[in-house]
Symmetry: D2
């Protein structure tokens, strides 16, 4: 390819997003990472160490998402690879019964997860449709999702609704956009995410959950996303269900 | 049963809601119908002819939903049968491409459909848990849904997200509430709704769609809902996929 | 209706089949029950008490199935309601690991369950297509299925394959036959079947499983099947997922 | 890795199997390909050009499958990668209505596809459990499947049953074997397979179907399978749904 591709990763936790940023950057891609708070020290270190552009964005606000894509397109170029990696589940809906969960937190879950996936997907589609296809491939949109996209667990109604909603959106977008040269991939990860930190301790996504050897490693997930982006349009994967070997499903 | 049961139907179009109101009333149930605009002449006629209580409610607003359940419980008694029959899709997301659909309309779709299903489901669960079980059955919550709950069609991202979201919510609620004596049923209807009007002309739910002999008749759907409410808890149907004989799926 | 309908129930355990035979007979239907061994005392008693015709049939053998339909059509008339109620799982595949299960037993599971469903479905379709529609409805074919149709449990590969296979067959037949006036319904029952016997003791389908208050009662399942057969073609249920209130799914 | 891995590909058409054989061989793997007729000139050429071992096997016969695994283990070593790539659909079930399809051909479809998947999966599991894990990974079993695994099309009952059955088997095996270090992957390919031949003409899997630019290319599918085999057990993909960009689904 003549020119460096551009990737935009929306959602900026220390897990999948950071792993994607590092891997894509190593592959010669110009990478932007968007986060609500782009001033977190860990993000700044990631940006500095890997030449990554940080962008502040509230992905549940239409104007903020549009501004983020404008900025990326203007400074790096229109992205060919966009990852929506927002869980969006506020702590106060976690394992709450349907009776006791706060309606405001449920609405926040829907807007942070499903609605932001729509906003990011819409702008990504617009940006990619402005690009010429390379072997017919204009770009790739990856939606990270959770096991709640596949199964509605008890005491988890808000998250089940948001995750199923994101799955339905991804399927509709795939049917609409794949014939236009945009690869839409839906990746429900039926696992907690965990990894070792440089000091040998273990980090994980959800406080309060056990950390063990068998959590899904974000670097491996980034490798899958890169593989998806490199697939030929004759055999695009629409859905990949990821699980660690020990997952009870 | 000693005392008349109470049913609450949320959403008040001339199709499924009106058919349910008539049938449940004929079965001796005290029926309330909630609509955003409870002053519509057709609703007033329905109420007058069948002794139905009308309630004004914006089902996407937590306080409005809570007030509606308070009013029903106070005037008729806590409902044993609640039907969430809101499509919630604004006209301006209908068959719009992901590129051109207005974000505000997408958010409205999510709140009118998925979030209102949560609000109604939450209040229904609270009301039913206050009731004693009859043969272990405290009550029934039916979520009407669309084929978009089963498949994400192109140019239909907002509706796919909202309908999938409602499906995920229903499944989570079923897993949580069925062991507590509440029958949660999810009914995706893979059809347009249509019926003959008293003057012999045909009515249907969606303006702009062809009306023909083979649309799903709302009276038949009401019969199914009544059958679901009468099922024994040893064999509750969680999901019923309805289709007319000619549906192309 | 002018003339008594005919129903054929294939599979003749003491659970769902017997409940269907009794209920359909009470509804004025002429009922035939087919079993591998039509000489079982319990079957003979059922036949005597409810005026039911017994037919010997090995439903995994094409000629035997064809002969059974010939006999029913000749003696009672072509059936308008056919229930395939064969589990078909030999005891020796039950909870066996993939390593230790006997290949011959796996093949028997496939032929007893999936292949017999095809054979019965094919003959049922032929018989029904010879009938005139009543309000456009020629007949109903119900496939009883198990939770293994929805989920492949570990140590259950043969049964998962057979049950998924039956589900795929039912879906294909529904798409093909519903436009021709034949209602095809798939009913995965996510439960063990259990009921009280006249002497107050409890019976159940699978020896070795706990019997408790919460098993699916076959009389309730028969009621659902009758409801399905009475549905109008504008709103046929293709799939009904049944669960008892306490089922862990 | 110290020693060359062994791969066994069951089913030997000129499409996916040949592409897998070439790619795995290029990766340094010792490859065996099993076919009913191992004497086909195209297979012999493949074997000669890429150093591949050919084995004659009827994969629907238990003894034949056991003998094939014995031979591979004895001559090359126990396989760490097994691909079940048999479609198994005889020409005479293809697009036949449920009424007209020959029962014998339906049974052949079930045994060639679903039952052979079980036989190959069982022997693969046995062979892999004898191997030591590499980073906890003993081996990978890939089941190629068709869109009929996801949807039962009309006039396709036999193939829907067989493909759904294979999907159920794969899911059960994944749940059982992944905790034992065996990666089971299910790959429904919602596409016809097509590719250019060395002489510039186009080949494809199913005679009678249109060949165009947008069929799934078997070389790309082989790349996916290799990626799956190289995944870390913390993030195994259980299911990958493949589609070409133009597929109508």
């Amino acid at each position: 390819m003549d020119e460096a591709e551009v990737a935009l990763i929306v959602g900026a936790g220390p897990g999948i997003s950071a792993s994607c940023a590092r891997l894509f950057s190593q592959q010669g891609v110009k990478v932007a990472v968007a986060a609500r708070d782009a001033n977190k020290p860990a993000l700044k270190a990631l940006a500095r160490d890997h030449g990554i552009t940080l962008i502040a964005c509230d992905a549940s606000v239409p104007e903020s998402v549009a501004a983020m894509f404008d900025e990326v397109s203007r400074t790096l170029g229109p992205p060919r690879l966009v990852v929506h990696n927002i869980d969006g589940r506020p702590r106060d809906v976690f394992r709450k019964s349907i009776i006791e969960v706060d309606p405001a937190a449920v609405l926040t879950t829907l807007t942070n997860s499903t609605f932001s996936a729509f906003l990011v997907g819409q702008q990504a589609a617009k940006a990619m449709l402005s690009l010429e296809g390379r072997d017919g491939h204009r770009g790739t949109i990856v939606f990270t999702n959770a096991s709640a996209a596949l199964k509605g667990y008890p005491r988890s109604g808000a998250f089940a609704a948001a995750s199923h909603g994101k799955a339905g959106l991804a399927q509709s977008m795939a049917r609409e956009l794949m014939p236009q040269g945009i690869h839409v991939a839906h990746v429900p990860i039926d696992a907690a995410i965990g990894w070792e930190q440089p000091d040998g301790s273990r980090a994980h996504r959800l406080a309060g959950e056990a950390v063990d050897d068998n959590m899904a490693h974000p670097d491996r997930i980034a490798e899958l996303y890169w593989h998806l982006h490199r697939q030929h349009r004759s055999t695009w994967a629409f859905e990949v269900v990821l699980r660690p070997w020990t997952e009870n499903w």
